[in-house]
């Protein structure tokens, strides 16, 4: 396997990232931060692309909105993908843009047959426009929605079946959602279809004291916790190695600290390869 564990790339770490020789290392960026006409950001990204594979991870295509994806946004994303030639383009099972307004979050929706049809149509539009297969990520959940007609795993599996898209399995999101909604993260991961999974995400979370509850927030501002590491190993043992990303967006530590987390994920993946071989 070429790509093992990767790191979310932040501007503060551009130089160290570009020079880092770790085996199997790749980087992921939020596509939206590079949807510019020109300038230093694109040049930095192109320079890192010379030495490392890049994955473009979108947070704003709003595929679960009851409207087609924004055509201008898709055009810019397609241009970025043509320029960077990413290892993977991914997005979320969520909505954010609605009636021309962008709500900077990954918003939930009832998983109905109507939503399924719309999301499949939107994913097909995106894949046609980008001329590549994309992967869809399971979001973190905070709200109990009692109008779901589909469970999340079946919903994601059906999307993959109908559109040919892949899935991005975020283990921390499963852990956070399981804690917030009261289900077993291990059971969820055991039931998740392995074949369409193209990438795995690992991240840290936090508690929101202001909400005065036992609510976990998918804050990406802390190291990956022990339980999520254990779930990752369990998942990889079952479905095999998949490129695994350490996500960190806030309270950014030194590059070496992140690289140590990435090396731990690399070891899990390399170990599973050894077992498989």
């Amino acid at each position: 396997m070429d790509l093992t564990a990767g790191l979310g790339l932040k501007p503060e770490h551009y130089e160290q990232a570009e020079a880092c020789p770790a085996a199997g290392l790749w980087f992921e960026v939020h596509s939206e931060n590079y949807l510019v006409d020109g300038g230093p950001r694109l040049r930095w990204l192109s320079a890192i692309r010379e030495s490392h594979a890049i994955s473009l991870h979108g947070v704003a295509l709003s595929l679960a909105a009851d409207a087609p994806p924004d055509a201008a946004h898709l055009r810019r994303l397609a241009a970025l993908a043509d320029r960077i030639e990413p290892a993977l383009v991914s997005e979320h099972l969520a909505w954010s843009t609605w009636r021309g307004a962008y709500h900077p979050d990954l918003l939930p929706f009832p998983r109905t047959g109507e939503a399924l049809a719309r999301i499949c149509s939107n994913i097909s539009i995106a894949q046609d426009s980008l001329r590549r297969r994309i992967a869809i990520e399971n979001p973190s959940h905070y709200l109990r929605i009692d109008t779901h007609e589909w469970g999340e795993i079946d919903f994601l599996a059906e999307i993959a079946r109908r559109t040919g898209c892949g899935l991005l399995l975020d283990v921390n999101n499963v852990f956070v959602s399981a804690a917030n909604l009261g289900f077993s993260a291990a059971d969820y991961l055991d039931a998740f279809p392995g074949a369409p999974v193209l990438e795995i995400h690992l991240a840290g979370h936090s508690r929101d004291a202001a909400l005065g509850e036992r609510l976990l927030i998918d804050s990406h501002d802390a190291p990956v916790c022990a339980e999520v590491w254990a779930l990752h190993e369990r998942l990889v043992r079952r479905i095999g190695a998949r490129p695994t990303l350490i996500e960190r967006d806030d309270k950014l530590p030194a590059f070496e600290t992140l690289l140590a987390e990435r090396d731990r994920a690399h070891a899990v993946l390399a170990g599973s390869e050894a077992i498989a071989a």
Binding site: E32, N33, L35, V36, D37, G38, G39, P40, R41, L42, R43, V59, A60, L61, S62, A65, D66, D70, A72, H73, R76, W95, S96, T97, W98, R99, G100, A101, Y102, H103, P104, D105, L107, P108, F109, P110, T112, E114, A115, R118, Y142, L143, R144, I145, D146, T147, H148, E149, W150, G151, N180, D208, A210, L211, G212, E213, L215, I217
Partner: protein
């Protein structure tokens, strides 16, 4: 999971959810009444507002430094509640923020704030503008003086400029953008600014009223002679050569076009 309630049309759900995020005090649509009462609904409200406010603070650092973080974030939250981003790239969020500040009652004592915000906006636009070679002196020298008069100098894709007649906006902006400790007195007079991006980094320099007028005319596609006439109207004592060389040195121009009939005969044939 089993269905325990009848499904709500996706569009109606999204209308109701969006409204409830931005107007916490309004009565929610019954489609989401069971959601907004959950404490977890605040997670989405907080994340959406924090995303908008963080983006405005990142995009308007000089304004934030001038008024302080607390004041800035309060003003930004008022703006965000009525003007969510219109595109998903938050890098460009805030195109209507300077105009908002101009009409924001608590900012009435700081009448220069909106124009300082305009210069922060210029920085963002220059930073993300399309790549283009910078026109240099050699390109000008290759054109004879007569042809230059009829030629058009096209401002560089990243160049942004403005003249502010009422206040020393450039000095106020620059001291805050550069996080300068310079607290020396400065003259209260009109000032102009030019922002360019000749390489990777955005640069800034003061620009006279005549210089701004010259670039305005160039941007409209006026020939150099006409643009200089406009600049001389603003300042009869203007010496064109130092202005032109300063603009070139700063990277203000991207291309030069010469009208076809002005090309030497041997080339046009």
């Amino acid at each position: 999971m089993n269905t325990v309630a009848s499904p709500v049309a996706l569009a109606r759900f999204q209308d109701a959810f969006s409204r409830a995020l931005l107007a916490p005090d309004a009565a929610p649509d019954e489609a989401i009444a069971g959601l907004v009462v959950q404490p977890a609904f605040a997670v989405y409200r907080n994340t959406v507002m924090k995303g908008c406010i963080d983006a405005l603070q990142a995009n308007f650092p000089s304004v934030a430094r001038l008024v302080g973080e607390e004041w800035f974030r309060a003003a930004a939250s008022v703006h965000a509640a009525t003007a969510l981003p219109t595109e998903a790239s938050l890098l460009r969020y805030g195109d209507t923020f300077p105009g908002f500040l101009a009409g924001f009652a608590p900012a009435a004592e700081l009448p220069y704030l909106a124009d300082v915000a305009r210069l922060d906006r210029f920085w963002t636009e220059a930073h993300a503008a399309a790549d283009e070679e910078v026109l240099d002196l050699a390109a000008i020298a290759a054109v004879g003086p007569d042809q230059l008069a009829d030629a058009t100098l096209h401002p560089h894709a990243a160049a942004r400029w403005a003249w502010f007649a009422d206040a020393p906006i450039y000095t106020i902006w620059r001291r805050n953008r550069e996080q300068s400790d310079d607290a020396s007195e400065f003259e209260w007079r009109g000032e102009g600014a030019l922002l360019t991006r000749p390489g990777d980094a955005v640069r800034w320099t003061a620009l006279s009223a005549a210089g701004c007028r010259f670039l305005d005319a160039c941007a409209k596609g006026e020939p150099v002679a006409t643009a200089l006439d406009a600049a001389l109207e603003t300042d009869a004592g203007l010496n064109p050569l130092p202005l032109l060389s300063a603009l070139l040195e700063t990277g203000a121009f991207g291309r030069l076009t010469v009208p076809p009939h002005e090309l030497p005969e041997r080339i046009s044939r």
